[in-house]
Amino acid sequence: MVTIIDYSIAIVGAFLAMCMFSTLYGKSSPLYALAEESYIGFGTGLTIVINAEYIWRTGIVNIMKGDYILILALILGAMILFRIHPEYNYVARIPIAIALGAQFGLSLRTIIFSGFTQQIIATIVPLFEGDAVTLLYRWTVALSVIFMMTFFFYSIELKGPLAASAKLGEYFLYTAFGAIFAQTFMGRLGLFVGFMQSFTIPPWKKPILVASMIIVFALVVIMDRTGIIEKYTPSE
């Protein structure tokens, strides 16, 4: 059963989404502003709700259960708010220092493994065992990493073999960029296709999608031709 609520969700959603797409026309328009401000407004509201809930569940509930040390979190949180006060902004420095320290501690303790030692270990592979394809793969990866790495040395002058290696590394990088660009395009296309699909499945939404596309496109062209765009589009 498709309810009136389902219909309203599909209609408003498709219309606002097409308004957002109207930026592809090359000009900002009141329609785009409507979609953008809707997203920012409701989106920020959602963030407020979720964060408040997090503070409530993780902080206040546990404090009421007797985990009193978490009161410290509320005090530090209150102190950090002074950041925007013109006179007392120094109050925020200690909590910022603590938050930064903990954050660095968290990231420094693990990335050395995931981003450094393990990546080195993974590059070290047998280069003379296995079938031809495996060998081709392994040789390419090993040589690419080595050549690309030399491209990224900055505190020494690149001369002689080092310069040649760096040049090769640059070529390898661009070869990689082609493949990565294609993968990225697939990803963005996937996001777009996935979005369009949310308006083609189930099939009753299809007419709504097509109608919104036509209406918004027509509106933007009309607004552009009549000069409404210049008159009503917000100046940032």
């Binding site: 609520i5 969700i9 959603g13 498709a14 606002l16 957002m20 502003a33 979609a35 401000e37 809707s38 997203y39 407004g41 409701f42 989106g43 920020t44 407020i48 709700v49 997090y54 993780t58 410290l72 950090i80 925007i84 013109p86 120094y90 200690i94 910022i96 603590i98 938050a99 930064l100 320290g101 903990a102 660095f104 501690g105 968290l106 420094l108 050395i112 981003g115 450094f116 990546q119 390419t140 990866v141 690419s144 690309m148 790495m149 640059e170 070529y171 661009y174 070869t175 990689a176 082609g178 493949a179 990565i180 660009f181 993968q183 395009f185 996001l191 979005f195 589009t233 917000p234 100046s235």
Partner: protein
């Protein structure tokens, strides 16, 4: 009190202590230290959640300024602030049904999707314009990009299975090597930056010195 809070050494010490309390237990086997570090981590998470208020402050102030000055399109800002408040109010009426649920699926879901989906268009126009064999680098980029794009079209994969090993070769060797190279250098960069801050070589990060935030 003010003097203590302004003391730069004290801030560095607080930062270093917080750092060590989180850092050390990962390497040393000690349940007591582990528990202490978890607690500190939770506290930090809550403090981070509170900082949202700072962002809200600037966002609302800027919106109100535009409304007050009646700049062109000011009513969109008024609309933005109204929707923000509405969403918070809606949350009190339950989330599985009702207005909160409606906004989630009618506004946030589709608009969030468009924000990233639209990038497919920019990628497409970039490729159409820039994938040109201008020099060696561009030629290499064009060649691999072309092959991988061709392979990624699902239909090609089904009818030209011989293309798969070639396309995967580029992605899994050059692409992966570049990914690994970036990872190694970004990792080292991030650690060095962290150490710099911990050593007090980056005072701006703590907001010492010039720190008036104005809009």
């Amino acid at each position: 009190m003010a003097e203590i809070l302004k003391n730069r050494e004290l801030q560095l010490i607080a930062m270093a202590l917080a750092f060590l309390l989180v850092f050390i237990p990962y390497f040393v086997e000690s349940p007591a230290l582990d528990a202490a570090s978890t607690k500190l981590i939770t506290i930090t998470a809550i403090v981070n959640a509170v900082t949202l208020i700072l962002a809200l402050n600037s966002q609302i102030r800027r919106g109100l300024n535009i409304i007050r000055m009646r700049r062109r399109g000011w009513y969109f800002k008024a609309y933005m602030i109204a929707t923000m408040i509405l969403m918070v109010v809606f949350a009190f009426f339950g989330r599985e049904t009702g207005p909160y649920h409606w906004v989630m699926y009618a506004v946030i879901n589709p608009l969030s999707s468009v924000n990233y989906g639209i990038l497919a268009f920019y990628m497409a126009s970039t490729a159409a314009r820039a994938f040109r064999a201008r020099n060696t680098q561009a030629m290499l980029l064009l060649a691999t990009g072309f092959i991988v794009l061709l392979y990624q079209a699902p239909l090609t994969g089904a009818y030209a299975p011989w293309l798969e090993p070639i396309a995967l070769y580029f992605g899994d060797t050059f692409g992966m090597a570049a990914g690994r190279m970036f990872l190694i250098s970004v990792t080292v960069g991030a650690i060095v930056f962290g150490v710099r801050v911990l050593l007090g070589k980056e005072p701006t990060v703590l907001g010492i010195g010039r720190e008036k935030v104005d809009e």
